[in-house]
């Protein structure tokens, strides 16, 4: 369970550029929920994910993970239980290391990084098999530095890497945005499969309304730091892309364009 309790977040407090992103923001994500989040640019989606993961501080409020207050915990400690894929494919992998090395690092998450050898030759077949499941032909590129792979390939590896260790939460920030439509579909399908297999509690930010409608068990729409649509269960199942588009139009009318 992820819970944000009366969160306040200001950027540049006290300066002319002061910007209040969240004013008393509340959100509760139940266990095994798969939440897709949509919303206009600057509505605070990335900020919300950063707040959950601890990449940025909040000015007021509390964040709970399974009932435990983690508001003061540093980012790296929160990541013990959280997996995260970023919008930028470069952020999830080490570019100068090859696929095997990256996967071995990811597999060792939450274990000590001591003086044992990282690469276990016996495991290479296992890694190769995992890559084969992606269906992108990466199993033939295992010794290529990840930096020289395409964004889509890197993103697929990042996603695979997050699920190689025992995690309970998955945070995805527009993780298909940099990909071509076909690869994006592959990655989205894979995401859904992994979430279901591992029974993860997930939050996925996306600008792809079709994904938001088709995938996930709950749909949130954010606007100016507030949740303006929140549908789950049957209501969510009956949501259509058109309903969301209508809401977007409504917002822009309110804003006077």
């Amino acid at each position: 369970m992820i819970e944000l309790n009366s969160v306040f977040k200001y950027y540049n407090p006290g300066l002319v550029t002061e910007n209040c992103v969240f004013h008393n923001f509340n959100l509760k994500v139940e266990d095994h929920e798969f939440v897709s989040v949509i919303g206009s640019n600057g509505s605070g989606k990335t900020t919300m994910l950063n707040i959950i993961c601890g990449s940025i501080d909040i000015d007021h409020g509390n964040i709970f993970l399974d009932g435990k207050d983690i508001s003061r915990e540093p980012e790296y400690k929160r990541m013990y239980r959280i997996g995260r894929v970023y919008q930028n494919p470069a952020m999830g992998t080490c570019p100068s290391m090859n696929i095997i090395e990256n996967m071995a690092l990811a597999e060792n998450k939450n274990k000590p990084f001591g003086l044992a050898r990282l690469i276990d030759k016996k495991k290479i077949d296992y890694y190769r098999n995992e890559l084969k499941k992606l269906g992108l032909g990466l199993e033939d590129k295992i010794y290529i530095p990840v930096g020289s792979l395409s964004g889509g390939q890197r993103q697929a590896i990042s996603l695979l890497m997050t699920t190689m260790s025992e995690i309970d939460f998955l945070i995805l920030d527009e993780h298909t945005a940099a990909l071509d439509p076909k690869t994006a579909d592959v990655i989205m399908e894979l995401t859904d499969k992994l979430v279901k297999e591992k029974n993860l509690t997930s939050i996925m930010v996306t600008h792809n309304l079709r994904y938001a409608v088709e995938y996930g068990s709950r749909l949130l729409m954010m606007h100016q730091g507030e949740v303006i649509i929140d549908k789950k269960g049957d209501e969510k199942k009956h949501m259509q892309v058109k309903d969301i588009l209508d809401k977007f139009t409504e917002i822009s009318v309110e804003l006077g364009n």
Binding site: Y76, T93, L105, N108, A116, R117, L118, T162
Partner: protein, 291 residues
């Protein structure tokens, strides 16, 4: 002949500092000025220990450890007080200067008459033709041993984590590891190497000299940059190997300049010029790659 031996001896000693610079400058992208202090710190500790009758071989690990501590302090200042990398190093380097003076009691100490690792190991008979190579052999063995250890370390989980910090800090955080402590570890190792090199250097020349550390970082960085050029040509070469060659090439250039009659007082400007040339050439090549 004497020239070649000199090049090999100094090249091997500075290869050790360059191992450290490879970790900080290349892997962590941290220009660590601490080494200008930890190199003479290793010399000083060694000189004092040897004057107090400690076995010269024991001074090596002790120097390594005190160097590690100096590096850890730099790392700590950098990550805890958010002080810039260069400045953190300069702070520790400056305080080590006084520490060294305090420890030695004055600006130089002679251990020429005292035992040293070089006097204790003589592969060839002293005075014979090959006897002139005794020191080179000892240094070679030390460098190779440490190269192997460093190579092995870089293959461990801890070593890979260190490399990840330089490659992608964010990944280290998502792996649930504190990137700050990894940086501190890297700085500790690098300064351990610098102080160890200082210890060997002191025993080699038979003295401690407070100013011997000036320019250590610049030399080490030059060695690393020259060395890594080699890996572009010889793709299979390990970075640690290339750093050793880099150090030897650098020394050869300096040796050659002196051979041509440059006075020793010009040494630093040769170093600076060489570093500049290497960096400019290096940048040109990058540009070519981009275009």
């Amino acid at each position: 002949m004497q020239l070649v031996i000199g090049i090999l001896e100094e090249g091997f000693i500075y290869a050790l500092v360059s191992f450290g610079a490879y970790i900080t400058f290349k892997i962590l992208d941290f220009p660590d000025m601490t080494v200008d202090g930890s190199f003479p710190f290793g010399m000083c500790v060694t000189a004092v220990l040897i004057l107090n009758g400690v076995n010269p071989f024991i001074t090596l690990p002790i120097s390594f450890i005190v160097g590690c501590i100096a590096g850890m302090i730099t790392g700590f200042i950098h990550v805890k007080f958010k002080i810039r990398d260069l400045l953190s190093g300069i702070i520790v380097m400056t305080s080590l200067y006084s520490m060294n003076l305090r420890l030695a009691g004055r600006a130089n100490l002679s251990i020429f008459q005292r035992p040293s690792i070089f006097k204790m190991v003589n592969v060839f008979e002293i005075g014979s033709v090959l006897g002139a190579f005794n020191r080179v052999i000892v240094l070679f063995l030390i460098v190779i041993l440490l190269k192997i250890i460093l190579d092995m370390y870089l293959e461990t989980k801890s070593g890979y984590l260190l490399r990840s910090v330089g490659d992608n800090e964010i990944l280290v955080t998502t792996l649930g590891k504190n990137k700050e402590s990894v940086k501190v570890l890297g700085l500790a190792l690098a300064n351990g190497f610098a102080a160890l090199a200082g210890s060997i250097y002191a025993q080699h020349r038979g003295s401690f000299e407070i100013s011997a550390g000036t320019g250590t970082l610049v030399i080490a960085v030059a060695n690393v940059i020259i060395g890594l050029q080699l890996t572009n040509v010889f793709r299979k070469m390990k970075p640690t190997t290339s750093v050793i060659f880099g150090s030897l090439i650098y020394r050869a250039c300096i040796g050659f300049a002196m051979f041509l009659g440059m006075p020793p007082s010009d040494l630093k400007i040769i170093t600076a010029a060489l570093l500049l040339v290497v960096i400019v050439l290096n940048n040109k090549k990058y540009k070519k790659l981009v275009e």
